[in-house]
């Protein structure tokens, strides 16, 4: 009989991780995209598969053009899993492969995933990616694999985890030192890499954290907030 118990979100731990992306700082350089690949062992496809739309990015930078020459504007927006509080992807998974962890993260448990694709269809942000084949790592590329992140077999869905492995490392080291996790101590790979420091990560439960302060900024918006997904990624619009 199943006996595993997981705590209820309502009795949450002190942290509620969130991110702020300042679009006024973002240059669209995509350092975050590569950082994410380097950190999370994301499989690289090949030109043939890429042409079929099978490129996997947990974090992408959407780019849109507005207007006509010479008044063309480009909008870049890094889009990653929004870690919705009311995530549409979660209830539809028949095997609980995606669910809400106690810290409010929307996590994907690869081992449970059978690949129904339902979560990906129900994600309004289209941030989930699928392993169409078993990933290939020609020798010695596997040396680069981050041992903190599991490799995903073919047939499972995957997505941004807010670099949960980094969160865990910091929390463990904080626990070991019996000290609280300091603001800015946890940095997902994308946040860490961003040259313009457009991304800020932190605890939304802590009103004094940088991320909480920025989330209260007048420029703050959330992507497709009207869907009621309650995303935990906040975008600061470009100042005009």
């Amino acid at each position: 009989m199943p006996t595993g118990k997981e705590t209820h979100t309502d009795q949450a731990k002190p942290h509620r991780w969130g991110m702020v992306v300042d679009l006024d700082r973002c240059t669209g350089c995509e350092a975050c995209v590569v950082a994410c690949h380097a950190e999370n062992n994301i499989a690289v496809s090949n030109p043939e598969e890429a042409a079929r739309g099978r490129v996997n990015h947990w974090l992408r930078v959407d780019r849109y053009y507005e207007g006509q020459f010479p008044d063309v504007k480009v909008k870049y927006r890094p889009v990653l899993c929004q870690h919705c509080d009311e995530a549409p992807c979660e209830p539809v998974c028949p095997v609980n492969a995606t669910y809400h962890n106690p810290e409010g993260l929307n996590v994907q448990v690869y081992n449970r995933c059978v690949g129904t694709f339902y979560c990906a269809n129900n994600c309004p942000y289209t941030v989930r990616s699928f392993n169409w084949f078993d990933p290939q790592w020609p020798e010695p590329m596997q040396l680069q694999h981050n041992p903190d992140v599991s490799l995903r077999p073919g047939g499972v869905m995957e997505k941004c985890t807010f670099c949960i492995q980094r969160i865990k490392r910091v929390e463990e080291s904080a626990d070991a030192g019996s000290r609280p996790v300091a603001d800015g101590e946890v940095q997902p790979a994308c946040v860490q890499s961003c040259p313009a420091e457009a991304m800020v990560f932190g605890d939304l439960n802590d009103p004094d954290s940088k991320v909480s302060r920025l989330a209260g900024d007048g420029r703050a918006t959330k992507l497709m907030e009207e869907l009621g997904t309650k995303p935990k990624v906040v975008y600061l619009d470009r100042a005009r």
Binding site: P2, Y64, G115, F117, N121, T126, W132, F133, G155
Partner: protein, 439 residues
């Protein structure tokens, strides 16, 4: 005489209807072989997919559902031919139903078996499909009962069980009769399956009682099953899928395509098994009228589905609407309207044009149209996701096409085998009685 097949001498009826069981022509063998080979090819394609991964399909980000889901909805829709139609006819005690019901019920069972496979074929890790079933396991996990896919599983299992019983019950008396005179292996099969049926009034009474009850229950199940299938879509928040109307819309579509399948099967049986005396023009006429009704209903639903999207002019929904009505899928959309509405209404609505041939032509159109309808529900929504940057295209791969073709072959194969093993028309229901007794 052909207007009233019930008036044929019982002996002739029995002989006519049992004859196909003991004789197989070369055409039968040919078709069975071809279908069998196609099914093998489909299995091989599935094998390739299992070995290499779902990458061998045309699916991509964000078109995560494709032909398999289209086929799934299509076959589940076809399954409504049988049980639902036969149950309605049974409950209304429409006497003309008698040669039709078993043919219809068999379609249901086989279409369900085939349709039920698609969610498994579609899985990224198909070998773990049983993880959806709630049973105590080493993973210490129960499935997520909030997921429409688990609803699907329960609904389809219920429907399969119900329709298998519904098909089986009226077969018992026929098998009891067949058990008396046949080859040894067949005799064994029939006597085992007929459970020692003696034909006592007690048995008959229980059978009729059970059939009546089951007809009521199966109606309730059939409607719910296709509603749950529709809810796979409408429970999600994808543009145009999130519609309150999808439940009834899918049910109507399912019955519509089911009737189409039934008419084709009836016409084929009539021709190949020489049942001209049993499946008469009146049957086709009645089925045509039923189909005409469903065509109008279908059009009404399609219309109200699209007009509300258009009028609301919500950008994300309009993106899909645009794709369907004047974008990449416009040709298929308008083809669907023609074959699902214009052709059936013309051919079957005008009395002069209504005939067995036109009914069959319209039915083929409806099958194609309803398949297209599912394609047009699944794919355009997915290729136009909410964030424009994720926009994509989809074209099915050879694996998906092969598996799709194989399922049609499987349907034909199963039907051919069934028609060789069991009387396709319930013989016992053909008791001779005068036409006045009819309601």
């Amino acid at each position: 005489m052909a207007e009233h097949p019930e008036l044929l001498p019982y002996g002739i009826i029995r002989e006519d209807l049992f004859r196909p069981l003991s004789r197989a022509g070369s055409k039968w063998w040919f078709t069975v072989t071809v279908c069998f080979l196609l099914v093998l090819a489909g299995l091989a394609a599935w094998g390739v997919q299992l070995r290499d991964g779902l990458g061998v399909t045309g699916l991509n980000r964000p078109v995560f559902w494709g032909l398999y889901i289209v086929d799934f909805v299509f076959w589940i829709g076809i399954s409504h031919a049988g049980t639902l139609i036969s149950a309605i006819l049974r409950l209304t005690d429409a006497a003309w139903r008698k040669p039709v019901t078993r043919a219809a019920e068999a379609i249901t069972l086989f279409a369900l078996m085939i349709g039920g496979l698609f969610p498994i074929i579609h899985l990224g890790r198909a070998w773990f499909f049983y993880w959806l079933i709630p049973y105590p396991n080493a993973r210490l996990m129960w499935p997520n009962f909030r997921s429409p896919l688990v609803w699907d599983l329960v609904a389809i299992l219920t429907y399969v069980t119900g329709s298998a019983i519904y098909l089986y019950l009226p077969l018992i008396p026929d098998m009891a009769q067949l058990g008396a005179h046949n080859k040894p292996w067949r005799r064994k099969l029939y006597t085992t399956l007929s459970l020692g049926w003696t034909g006592s009034d007690r048995e008959w009474h229980a059978l009729e009682m059970a059939m009546k009850l089951n007809a009521v229950i199966i109606l309730a199940i059939a409607i719910s099953v296709h509603t749950v299938v529709a809810w796979d879509f409408s429970m999600s928040i994808a543009p145009t899928w999130h519609s309150t109307m999808f439940g009834p819309y899918f049910v109507v579509g399912a019955i519509f395509s089911g009737i189409g399948a039934l008419i084709i099967v009836m016409a084929t049986l009539r021709r190949t098994l020489h049942l001209e005396n049993y499946l008469i023009k009146r049957h086709f006429d009645n089925m045509s009228k039923l189909m005409l009704t469903m065509s109008l209903l279908w059009f009404y639903f399609t219309m109200s589905e699209h007009i509300t999207i258009w009028y609301g002019n919500e950008p994300k929904e309009m993106g899909v609407f645009g794709q369907r009505t004047r974008g990449d899928y416009a040709f298929w959309f308008w083809t669907m309207v023609v074959v699902n509405f214009v052709i059936p209404v013309t051919l079957l609505g005008i009395k002069k044009l209504r005939s067995i041939t036109t009914a069959v032509i319209a039915s083929f159109g409806v099958l194609i149209g309803m398949w297209l309808e599912r394609y047009l529900i699944v794919v355009p929504t997915l290729v136009t996701p909410r964030l424009a940057s994720a926009t994509s295209v989809y074209s099915p791969s050879w694996v998906e096409l092969m598996i799709t073709v194989a399922t049609f072959a499987a349907m034909i194969l199963l039907y051919l085998l069934f028609a060789r093993l069991f009387p396709i028309i319930a013989v016992w229901e053909y008791k001779p009685h005068s036409p006045e007794e009819e309601d």
